[in-house]
Amino acid sequence: MPKPLFVIEDLHVSVEGKEILKGVNLTVERGEVHALMGPNGSGKSTLAHTLMGHPRFQITQGRVLLKGKDVLSLPPDERARQGMFLAFQYPVEIPGVKVRHFLRMALKASKGEEPSVTEFRKQLFEKMALLEMNRSFSERYVNEGFSGGEKKRNEILQLAMLEPEMAVLDEADSGLDIDALRSVANGINKLAGPHMGMLLITHYQRILNYVDPHFVHVLFDGRIVRSGGMELAQELEAKGYEWIAGEAVA
């Protein structure tokens, strides 16, 4: 039997001695889109950062397997090279570094070889066209002076260029107006496919009006307390997180 693409197994994570994740279990296969929903403070961002290897989070228990291999001891760049990707909720600015230059370096790092200049340009402009982005965007410095929507689209552009096997999108919809939200969601739909597993982390249900996940999970107080399909998201939308909170206490 082939190994599953991505498995989170009994993951416990602490920040400065306080336990945030208290045993998370989740499996994502190729071609699947999973939505992970949860209220503020449930541990969503902790999970996203931990999966990518942010040094601030201490793993006290559990495993994260990518293609059967535990990645928890790997630094973030090694995880990226193994096929993981994180779209950040708050992408940082890298002053003086052009998007184009940065993408080329990232491609070289993750694929091991540098694409030729013409090939790279062709690929870049294709993806930008796919995401309906203006070409001049690639001449700007990474995230510097970007609007909220531009930052999120820049994350999606990187997702498109780097073609990871497992993508985690942390609050890809936060802070966007309706047009920007639609454009980001379109990008996600175009990029999702049989070769990739996707974990969409979100507070609100609204992005799910545009992206159809195969599975919906609810994270509450550091654990996944409910799993289901789209109907779960709709129920959440109707009843709010208090409904889950009530159940979790009971």
Binding site: G53, P75, F85, E93, V97, S110
Partner: protein, 446 residues
């Protein structure tokens, strides 16, 4: 005098003057500068301007004040030493190129188009003979008199070679003029002088390079650059310092700006053992504008000390300074950045920012930015200094895209410098500087 005896003295001053067959007024200026030099105490760590920069290891008495270039006249670039040739990418035309090798100007390719418009671009020694009135009026008088500081005085007494640029009223010089100073002889002290006069409404880009190969033995580069910007004149002034590791660099550069003139200056400091460099803009006429940028990268045990001045004398002027500094290994960078606003300088807009990145344990950054304001009716006056290491959040972001820690750090440092390097009009120099930065970084990381 092919080569003077070691050390500096009044006798050397007179010999130099005779060697160049100078007119009496110029000999007199040299002697006056020597008098000021002797009357000025040698800077020590007790002087406020020199508190963080120790030049006691510089053996002044062991230095030669003058040495003829090995080949005094190079008609074509090919006749120049190899290391010097490598600097001069000729793929892009400049409108003029002047080369000083050690104490002498060895090559001056004329700025033909510009010469037709009356632009003068020549060695300063030549200009003394051909434009005595201009030189007499501007040379070390109002801009950088010997009283400026100890080493400007020494320069005034010992100068050789040098560059003279004169742009007549209203003339816009399209292509950059470039002057390259090549110091190749250990034990030598060079004193190149640059005098630039822009008449009203003229426009120029000037690139000055100070370079030398790696040498065994101390050497001194003690240059002085004087710039006069007439009303409405515009100057882009780029100074690249890539001296060899044993060279002491004690220099001064001062710009006097008349009304509505504008200066865009860029200082690039990469080489040398120890640098103490004065960079001064004096806004004398209303509406003048000075942009002063700088990039400094210190490695090993290099020491950089840039002392900048934005002096607002007239009303409604603006000045903005941005220096970006990276230090690694045991290197140290001092930035003494003065902003002085006189009582009549109403409507002043002055800004100053010095950013320091410390890459390794043992490296030091001392930014000191005094702000002296005597006027109240100002638009803005602000300064900011930061010191830090490469930001962890930026590193994590780049590493999450597959870059190694080392590559991520390199990318961040490159990005730190890029906006400044990008602005250099000659791509060849851009490439050379990027390479130099990368080389320095390469040594940094295991």
């Amino acid at each position: 005098m092919k080569q003077a005896a070691k050390g500096f003295s009044r006798q050397v001053v007179e010999e130099l003057s005779s060697l160049h067959s100078e007119p009496p007024w110029l000999r007199q200026r040299r002697l006056e500068a020597w008098r000021v030099y002797e009357a000025t105490p040698m800077p020590t760590l007790q002087d406020e301007d020199w508190r963080r920069t120790d030049i006691s290891a510089l053996a002044l008495d062991e230095l030669l004040p003058f040495a003829e270039a090995p080949s005094p006249h190079a008609d074509s670039i090919a006749e120049l030493p190899q290391g010097l040739c490598a600097l001069l990418d000729k793929s892009r035309p400049e409108s003029g190129l002047l080369i000083q090798h050690d104490s002498q100007v060895v090559h001056a390719s004329p700025a033909e188009e510009a010469a037709k418009q009356g632009v003068i671009f020549a060695s300063l020694e030549e200009a003394v003979g051909e434009q005595p009135e201009l030189v007499k009026r501007y040379f070390m008088t109002r801009c950088l008199p010997p009283e400026h500081s100890k080493f400007v005085a020494l320069h005034g007494a010992m100068w050789s070679g040098g560059t003279f640029v004169y742009v007549p009223k209203g003339v816009e010089v399209e292509l950059p003029l470039r002057a390259c100073q090549w110091l190749a002889r250990p034990g030598l002290a060079v004193f190149p002088h640059t005098l630039i006069v822009l008449e009203a409404g003229s426009k120029l880009t000037f690139i000055a390079e100070q370079c030398s190969p790696e040498m065994d033995g101390q050497a001194l580069s003690c240059g002085a650059t004087e710039v006069y910007l007439g009303e409405g004149a515009q100057l882009r002034h780029i100074s690249v310092q890539q001296l060899g590791r044993q060279v002491y660099n004690l220099g001064a550069q001062r710009h006097l700006l008349e009304g509505d003139s504008s200066l865009d200056s860029l200082i690039i400091g990469l080489g040398g053992e120890l640098t103490k460099f004065f960079v001064e803009s004096v806004l004398e006429g209303p509406g003048a504008n000075a942009q002063m940028r700088g990039v400094v990268f210190g490695g090993d045990d290099q020491h950089f000390d840039h002392q900048t001045l934005q002096e607002h004398i007239a009303a409604d002027c603006s000045s903005d300074l941005l220096f970006k500094v990276v230090v690694k290994d045991q290197a140290m960078s001092v930035h003494l950045g003065n902003v002085r606003v006189h009582g009549d300088a109403r409507g002043t807009d002055a800004g100053q920012t010095v950013r320091n990145l410390i890459l390794s344990e043992g490296a030091k950054a001392h930014p000191i930015l005094p702000l002296e304001i005597e006027a109240s009716d100002i638009r803005r006056c602000s300064h900011a200094a930061t010191v830090g290491q490469v930001d962890e959040a930026q590193l994590f972001y780049l590493m999450s895209r597959g870059l190694s820690r080392r590559d991520a750090q390199k990318l961040i440092v490159d990005g730190f410098f890029e906006p400044v390097l990008e602005a250099i009009p000659l791509p060849a120099i851009q490439h050379r500087l990027r390479r130099a930065v990368d080389e320095k970084l390469g040594l940094a990381m295991p």
